[in-house]
Amino acid sequence: MKTLVLVEHDNACVKDATLHTVTAAAALGEVHLLVAGQGCAAVADEAAKIAGVAKVHLADDAAYAHQLPENVAPLVVALMADHEAFLASATTTGKNIAPRVAALLDVMQISDIIAVDGPDSFTRPIYAGNAIAKVKTSDKKLVITVRGTAFDKAAASGGSGTVETVPGTGDSGIASFVGAEIAASERPELTSARVIVSGGRGVGSGENYHKIIDPLADKLGAATGASRAAVDAGFVPNDYQVGQTGKIVAPDVYIAVGISGAIQHLAGMKDSKTIIAINKDEDAPIFQVADIGLVGDLFQIVPELTAKL
C-alpha cells in the first residue's frame, strides 16, 4: 500500500519524530511524505534523503506556515485520494491534525500505535499504558498516529526520493496563528535525549529545580523533564511534562528526582532502558519500577552526585 507521512518541521529542518514514523510507515508499504509549510523547500530536500522514502509532496503556502489543522487537513484529504494510509507522529502537531483528517475521510483513527501487526492490525497502549490492546480495523483507508519511542529512527540519509510540488487547498479563513512562546534550550530535546533528569514535587520550587536539576543535567548532557505535580506547581513550564498526557520518553537513562511515581507519570517513562530514582520516601512507587534506587534527601544527594561526576 502507499502511505503518506506528515513531516514535522519548523520550516527549516525535519524533526526527529518524523524518522520514527517513517519506520512505522515502511512496515505498511511504500513511503511518501508530505511537507506542508511556508518557505520549506529545504525541508522537502532533507526529507527526500530519508532512507526508504519514494516521494515527497511539497505544499509551500502561507496557509501552512503554522500547521493549522483547518488548512492542513483538507490538503491531506486531497492527497489521500492516491494513498491508502496516513501516518502522523503522536506529537501535539500530529494529534491536532490526524483526527481531523480521519473524520473528513470517515475513518476511525488508530491512535498512538506501538507496533504494526499486519496491514489492518496494530498494537496500542490504553489506560495510560496499564493495558495493551491489539486492534483490527475494517476501514478501507488507515489514519494512524505513531508513538515515536516504539519505532527505531529511519536513517536521515541514503534515500533518494523525488520532490513533487502539489497545489495548496487554500486558507480556511476560520483560524489564524497569533503567536508562540517556544522555549529555546541548549539541552537535547526531551523526546530524543539519551539521558533525562526529571524533577518532581519533592524539588520544592522552581528556584530549587534550576539549582538542583540543571547542574546534574549539564554534567550528563541530559534533557530536563518534570512530573505533572512540578508543572502544576509552576516550577517549570508545560513542555517539561513527562507522562500520560505530557511527553512519552524512553531514554537510555532516566533519573527521577523527588518524583513519587504516580501511574500517570510512569506511563510516560517506564519504557526507559534504565530508571534511577532518588527519593526520601523508601515506599514511593517509583522504586517499584526503578532499576537503581537511592533513598535519601535529594538536596544533599544530587549536588554531591553532580560534584562527583
Binding site: E70, M108, S111, A131, G173, A180, R228, I292, K308, L309
Partner: protein
C-alpha cells in the same frame, strides 16, 4: 451563546485498571467510575464563561450506558443548566461520538463546544478534532487559556515546544489541557438542586447515527512488568553505576 460540554464516564483515575483474564478488555464490574478528569475541566471552563456573562446556557452531553446519567448529574451539580444523555451500551468510538455530537450541535446551535482533550480510558485524543472537522469549525486543542471576545475566541495551546496561541472564529471547538483551570467541587445544595435539572434521554437512532465500531479489539493484555531493581546505599555507589552505564566519564 450556548456552550455544549460532552462528558464521558470512565474508570476513576485513582484506580488501577485490571485486565480481564480472557483478554477481552478491562474489568469495569463493581469499580468506581467518574467523570473523565479532562471533561471536568471542560465543564468548569464553560461554567466560568457563564459566570462572566459570556455564555447564557451550559448543556452537558454524555454518550454511554444508562449510568452515565450520574456523570451528567455531576456536571449539573457543578453548574451546567441541562443535560442530554444518548444511551448506548457497548463501544462508542470517537468517530461515532463525533457524529452524534454534530447532530446535537446542529439542533442546539452552540457558540462553543468544550471537550476534554482525551479520555483516560482509551487515550484516543480524537473526538474534539473529529467534531470540528464534521462541523467545519475551527479547533483549539490542548487549551491552557480561553478568551472569548466578540466573534472570536483566542486559545492558548500547550504544544511540545511550549505554548501557542490561535485565534478562532466562533462557533469553535476547544479541547482542554490540565492547566486550563481547577474544577470546583459541587456543594451539597447544588448536588440536591441538580436532581431536578432537566435531563433528556435519547438514543443514537434519534440522530440517525450508526454506532457499529470500525475497530475490533482482538486482545487486551497486561504490559510487560518492570522488575524493581536494586537500591544503592551511597552516592559513590550510584556514581559507579552511572559510569558502568556509560553516561558518566
Amino acid at each position: 451563546m450556548k456552550i455544549l460540554v460532552p462528558v464521558k464516564r470512565v474508570l476513576d483515575y485513582n484506580l488501577k485498571p485490571r485486565v480481564k483474564a480472557d483478554g477481552s478488555g478491562i474489568d469495569l464490574a463493581n469499580v468506581k467510575q467518574s467523570m473523565n478528569p479532562f471533561d471536568e475541566i471542560a465543564v468548569e471552563e464553560a461554567i466560568r464563561l457563564k459566570e462572566k456573562g459570556i455564555a447564557t446556557e451550559v448543556i452537558a452531553v454524555s454518550i454511554g450506558e444508562a449510568k452515565s446519567q450520574e456523570t451528567l448529574r455531576t456536571a449539573l451539580a457543578m453548574g451546567a443548566d441541562r443535560a442530554i444523555l444518548v444511551t448506548h451500551d457497548g463501544v462508542a468510538e470517537p468517530l461515532a461520538v463525533a457524529k452524534l455530537l454534530k447532530a446535537i450541535a446542529d439542533e442546539e446551535q452552540p457558540g462553543l463546544i468544550i471537550l476534554g482533550k482525551q479520555a483516560i480510558d482509551d487515550d484516543s485524543n480524537q473526538t474534539g478534532q473529529m467534531l470540528a472537522a464534521l462541523l467545519g469549525w475551527a479547533q483549539g486543542t490542548f487549551a491552557s487559556k480561553v478568551e472569548v471576545s466578540g466573534e472570536t475566541v483566542n486559545v492558548t495551546r500547550e504544544v511540545d515546544g511550549g505554548l501557542e496561541t490561535v485565534a478562532l472564529k466562533l462557533p469553535a471547538i476547544v479541547t482542554t489541557d490540565l492547566r486550563l483551570n481547577e474544577p470546583r467541587y459541587a456543594s451539597l445544595p447544588n448536588i440536591m438542586k441538580a436532581k431536578s435539572k432537566p435531563l433528556a434521554t435519547k438514543a443514537p437512532g434519534d440522530y440517525g447515527v450508526d454506532m457499529t465500531p470500525r475497530l475490533t479489539t482482538l486482545n487486551v493484555s497486561e504490559p510487560p512488568k518492570r522488575q524493581a531493581g536494586i537500591k544503592v546505599a551511597s552516592v559513590d555507589e550510584l556514581v559507579t553505576k552511572l559510569k558502568a552505564l556509560g553516561v558518566a566519564a
